[in-house]
């Protein structure tokens, strides 16, 4: 078993807000992240897949194919978009780093031929990142 990690980047806007809460409660819990006008980040996505090395090609997965899958399934939908307003899974779910990692897992699960999705890591900033391993 070999683990292979591919990175991708996207830049997006978001904000944190729970409609059921008062503005004061949103501000207390989310601080400056609750600014309704949004703010943005340069996100880095790391997708790790696990699989066996093909004896002929020497690949776990074809990196070009993996790059194209990340582009099609994630980057083309998230990049230079407002996550709350333009990405369907965040209409009712706050686009925290944790939820972005889970959403990207759900977008990629079963889409990568010949390998098993192992980990989705999303960096909101170099000092803040979330991992999702598909756990319930």
């Amino acid at each position: 078993m070999i683990f292979l990690t591919r990175k991708a980047e996207f830049s997006s806007a978001h904000f944190y807000w729970v409609e059921a809460w008062s503005p004061e409660e949103n501000l207390r819990v989310f601080g400056k992240c609750a600014n309704r006008n949004g703010h943005g980040h340069n996100y880095t996505l790391e997708v790790t897949v696990a699989g066996s090395v093909d004896p002929t090609s020497g690949f776990v997965v074809d990196l070009k194919e993996l790059k194209d899958i990340l582009e099609r399934e994630v980057v083309s939908i998230y990049d230079h978009r407002h996550l709350n307003l333009e990405v369907p899974e965040f209409r009712a779910t706050i686009p925290t780093t944790e939820n972005i990692a889970i959403a990207i897992w759900q977008r990629l699960d079963n889409k990568i031929p010949h390998a098993k999705l192992h980990r989705v890591r999303v960096y909101e900033m170099p000092d803040l990142f979330a991992d999702y391993y598909g756990e319930r």
């Binding site: 686009p95 925290t96 944790e98 979330a130």
Partner: protein, 142 residues
């Protein structure tokens, strides 16, 4: 759903690797320049990994502001711009980054709002240390 949150903190501190159990010659033989008498310093980076169920309302494993406040009080205020050898936690142990990692693990174990998975401490960009509190492999580690 269970996710892992990683947060990195930075502090600068001095230390000297030295043990009373050895004589001067052996201290220098074992610790080399890290045993120089007046100490030296590093820019340390601490990476803590916490896990938990993502709260369906907030979308968070734990509130980042709460974690940052905890780290400020219990990590940064204690270690930043300090001489590690003068601290109680290194009264009887050498201030190696292994021992520092264990101490930092003990600190974040007390964080009440998420489960500590492991700590990763970088002493320099070339040296880093991991501690998960036991001999078992870290969850999710590849």
């Amino acid at each position: 759903m269970k996710a892992h949150l990683n947060r990195r903190y930075h502090f600068s501190a001095s230390h000297r690797l030295h043990t009373e159990a050895y004589d001067a010659a052996k201290n220098y033989a074992v610790f080399g320049k890290c045993n120089n008498p007046h100490g030296h310093g590093h820019n340390y980076t601490v990476q803590v990994t916490l896990s938990g169920q993502v709260d369906p309302s907030t979308g968070m494993v734990c509130n980042l502001a709460e974690l940052d406040a905890f780290a400020q009080t219990n990590l940064l205020a204690r270690f930043d711009h300090m001489n590690l050898n003068t601290l109680d936690c290194f009264a009887n142990t050498v201030s190696t980054t292994e021992n520092l990692s264990i101490e930092i693990y003990r600190i974040f174990q007390r964080f009440p709002s998420a489960h500590l998975e492991h700590v990763h401490v970088e002493e320099t960009s070339n040296n880093s240390f991991d501690y998960a509190g036991s001999e078992t492999p870290m969850p999710g580690t590849i």
